[in-house]
């Protein structure tokens, strides 16, 4: 266990180093941060002075060494735009993103497991076919389109007048297909609960949860179909295996076979994929957060790029790198718990 952790920590350090070098070396292509800091009519002389103050005129190596020296002491520099330490800015925005990811993950877990299992147990049922069909569609719609459609349907509302209003069935159909809207379409709302540090949570008020609803659904919409299909496929394979047949032959009750014996083995690959996907989901939040003006790190990162806020970009990339390393480590640990035959350090059992 200890050896495993040491190995992971040194891996993390290497990842951070590589990311910082790459992020630092692309900064010249990100544009001139001065453009966002001064008005158009400011003279070149003033700009040059400010560039000197910011240390932008130093050679690459000098800039990187200065950055690395500070970074080793836990100081990732100050954001140009926010005017305060980048780590503080990220910590302020991170809770929003984590809550979004948690919300989406809950939706995925709550829906993918029952639907996936059902579709595996009754592959011929029309409901299974329906779910599979919908999931194919879901997987192929880009997340921002889902988001825009959700906003139109549930925030703004649509009035359908396709059918003749004067007939009973027509007005019923019109009414059934129209939506009222009313759900919040942007931000996290006003009723946030302070948990600790910079964590302001929206989980504890109705308003906060309503604000979370649409963004979480759109974020979940990309991963949900994938997990339904994955669980279904794995489960069907497991159901064919000898020990399940044996359990059936022994006369065990179907729910016990399905949910205790089969599901447990189904989940092994699902957890591995899930770990990686949660990391990817953090990246996907950039799109979701932009559409819903969700004040998380994804939105912050995107705006940092348009502003050429280089210290913030570098710090964000390093933090995301760290998150990937941590989630992968956790996945490996959980894997060990679910399947005791797996040895963490990779030695043969």
């Amino acid at each position: 266990m200890l050896a495993f952790l040491v190995q992971r920590i040194s891996q993390a350090l290497l990842v951070m180093f590589v990311i910082s070098v790459i992020a630092f070396s692309i900064q010249d292509n990100l544009g001139d941060p001065l453009q966002e800091m001064v008005g158009m009519s400011v003279s070149e002389e003033e700009r040059e002075k400010l560039r000197d103050e910011l240390g932008l005129n130093d050679p690459f190596v000098v800039q990187y060494l200065r950055f690395a020296g500070n970074a080793l002491q836990g100081d990732l520099g100050n954001s140009y735009f926010y005017g305060k330490p980048t780590v503080d800015v990220i910590l302020e925005n991170l809770p929003a993103t984590l809550e979004l990811v948690i919300g989406a993950t809950l939706i995925i877990v709550l829906f993918s497991v029952p639907i996936g299992v059902y579709a595996a147990i009754r592959p011929q049922a029309w409901l299974s076919k329906f779910f599979m069909g919908v999931s194919t569609v879901g997987i192929s719609i880009p997340v921002f389109l889902t988001a825009i459609v959700l906003i139109q349907l549930f925030s703004i509302g649509v009035t359908v007048t396709l059918f003749p209003e004067d007939t009973g069935w027509g007005s019923w159909l019109n009414g059934a297909l129209s939506t009222n809207g009313g759900l919040p379409s942007y931000g996290r709302g006003d009723e946030l609960t302070h948990l600790f540090g910079t964590w302001e949570s929206g989980f504890f008020s109705q308003d906060g949860l309503l604000h979370l609803l649409l963004p979480a659904i759109s974020l979940a919409s990309i991963m949900l179909p994938l997990f339904i299909r994955l669980i279904r496929a794995e489960m069907m394979e497991v159901l064919q295996s000898d020990y399940i047949r044996y359990a059936r032959a022994k006369g065990l009750a179907a729910p016990r076979i399905n949910f205790l014996h089969a599901l447990k083995n189904t989940m092994l690959p699902v957890i591995t994929v899930g770990g990686v996907q949660i990391g990817i989901m953090v990246a996907y939040t950039i799109l979701t957060e932009t559409v819903f003006q969700w004040p998380g790190v994804g939105l912050m990162f995107l705006e940092a790029i348009t502003r050429s806020d280089i210290p913030l970009i570098v710090a964000y990339l390093m933090v995301v790198g760290l998150i990937f390393v941590i989630t992968n480590t956790l996945v490996d640990l959980i894997y060990g718990l679910v399947n005791p035959t797996v040895k963490l350090t990779g030695k043969k059992a």
Binding site: L30, G31, M37, V38, E44, I156, G181, G187, L299
Partner: protein, 520 residues
């Protein structure tokens, strides 16, 4: 930082408690802009967003009216003493948010701070000092006679000199202007304006509350609280309005104009803007551009009206000059001159019948439809056999390229900070001179010393009629010379729920006077 602010707001509420609540400012306004204020220090950056904040939390000496006239604010009246001096009388009994009273000392303090601000010092270069006569009288002194004295005075938002004097705990001067952030003034403010910043989470939301002791008791404004949410994504901003999440949004993207116009719950307000979008022809890089005939041919080949109608969907006013209507230099005789046959003929006369190849660059996220406009112009030029190699870039990368004059034709949009024509010429058509900073954005390298001299003469001409004539002559000569290719003035658009009466408080400078906003 939040603590500091709340402490300050708290102490203010205490001091204001015995006073009666002014007016019935009880309505709440939820609004969404495309960005929130970068800082609370109004002298840190000269930008539209900062001026919007200035008008909410401070008050200028005088401000622009809708038709580009002046309206007295903190200055009650003003009179010219001599060629270089203007005497202002300050309104009495005006209170800062801190409770201090406004005096001429504060104006002097503000003026000196403006002179030291990298962004504002250019505007105040013609000024030498603020001379205090008594507590509520002061004189603005310029070096030479300066016709734009009042224009510049709209940028003087008196700051609370007592509040901003002294040092913070870590030994920094409280009035320090620091673009790197963290200065006292960037997190605390005390102005005279209608609103106080009650809470601020940068990039997420800013909450304003009406200042109980606001001096302007005649103001019809009845908004007691404003919540500003920055929503950068156009679609989301529009959705937020249509779903009723916010009451007022700006800007409205041109693609959604119809959607908003057709919605029965919201009102759309549009105005012709003053920002000119144009292309510059780099004479240093391309020999042919030195030939006035070639430049003229290009001017004839570009169809401004087509671009305004088709690409901008009517959301722009076609331009044949830089000065928009209402500016002194606006010359009503100059009309777009699209005529492809004439253009081809001119190319022939100039000896370039077979054309040539040039490079073109434009930003793709700075101005409305900037990349599509560039593509259209490139296509139009192909009709006179000029082949264009176009590259569009995000703005953060575009401006460094612009500074390097990296292409033969480059796009630029310009808004005159002084709301005056001379500013266009000084930055865009003056002979480039790195020492004086003249022609800083003249990427065409167009140079006509005679015109420069005429503008400089206009800049010391205090007879406004004479001055207008001089500036209009300049505009005419630039047109004849086809010094650059003007395209259009980008329109402005705002939208709000029907009960929010935004129209009266909007103006072409795009700083709404929200203190006067009425919600029914």
């Amino acid at each position: 930082m939040k603590k500091l602010l709340t402490a300050f707001v708290g102490s203010m509420a205490l001091s204001a408690a015995p006073m009666a609540m002014s007016a019935e400012a009880t309505k709440e306004l939820k609004m969404a802009y495309d960005a929130d204020p970068v800082t609370l220090d109004i002298h840190e950056q000269l930008s539209g967003g900062m001026l919007q904040l200035s008008h909410m939390t401070f008050d200028p000496l005088l401000r622009w009216t809708k038709d580009l006239g002046f309206e007295a604010r903190l200055a009650e009246s003003w009179e010219r003493v001599d060629e270089t001096t203007m005497r202002f009388k300050l309104r009495e009994g005006v209170k800062f948010h801190s409770g201090n009273e406004l005096t001429a000392e504060d104006v002097k303090f503000t003026f000196e701070r403006l002179k030291s601000s990298p962004d504002y010092k250019a505007i105040f270069r013609p000024f030498t000092e603020v001379r205090i006569v008594d507590d509520h009288t002061f004189e603005l002194v310029t070096e030479k006679p300066y016709p734009l004295l009042l224009n510049a005075a709209t940028y003087i938002f008196p700051m609370d000199s007592e509040f901003y004097s002294g040092e913070t705990e870590d030994g920094k001067a409280k009035d320090l202007i620091d673009k790197k952030g963290g200065s006292f003034a960037s997190r605390n403010m005390s102005g005279t304006g209608p609103f106080v910043v009650a809470d601020r989470q940068q990039g997420v939301r800013v909450e304003f509350e009406r200042f109980d002791d606001y001096w302007d008791t005649e103001s019809p404004g009845n908004v007691g609280k404003i919540v500003l949410t920055p929503i950068k994504e156009n679609n989301t901003r529009v959705s937020a309005l249509l779903s009723g999440g916010v009451d007022y949004i700006a800007p409205v993207p041109p693609t959604d104009l119809d959607r908003i116009r057709n919605d029965k719950n919201v009102d759309l307000v549009t105005m012709t803007g003053t920002r000119i979008i144009m292309f510059q022809l780099n004479q240093e890089r391309v020999e042919a551009f030195k030939n006035p005939k070639v430049r003229e041919a290009i001017a004839y080949a570009v169809n401004q009206e087509g671009i305004a109608a088709k690409i901008m969907k009517g959301f722009a006013t076609p331009a044949a000059q830089m000065s928009p209507e209402g500016y002194q230099g606006h010359n009503p005789n100059l009309k777009p001159r699209y005529d492809i046959a004439k253009a081809q003929e001119l190319m022939k006369e100039a000896g370039y019948e077979d054309g040539f190849t040039i490079t073109m660059m434009a930003p793709n996220n700075r101005y409305v439809n900037d990349d599509k406009i560039a593509q259209a112009v490139a296509a139009m030029l192909s009709r006179i056999n000029i082949k264009v190699d176009l590259k569009t870039l995000p703005k953060a990368q575009y401006w460094p390229e612009f500074d390097d004059r990296a292409a033969d034709m480059m796009m630029i949009g310009w808004h005159a900070d002084t709301e005056d024509s001379a500013n266009f010429y000084e930055f865009l058509t003056f002979c480039p001179d790195s020492e004086t900073g003249a022609g800083q954005y003249n990427a065409g390298n167009y140079c006509n010393p005679e015109l420069d001299k005429l503008v400089e003469m206009a800049n010391v001409e205090t007879d406004l009629d004479k001055r207008a004539e001089m500036l209009q002559t300049v505009e005419q000569r630039l047109y004849e010379d086809a010094a650059f290719i003007p395209l259009h003035w980008q329109d402005l658009a705002w939208a709000a729920k029907k009960n929010v009466k935004i129209e009266p408080v909007l103006n072409v400078m795009n700083f709404p006077y929200l203190g006067d906003l009425v919600i029914e």
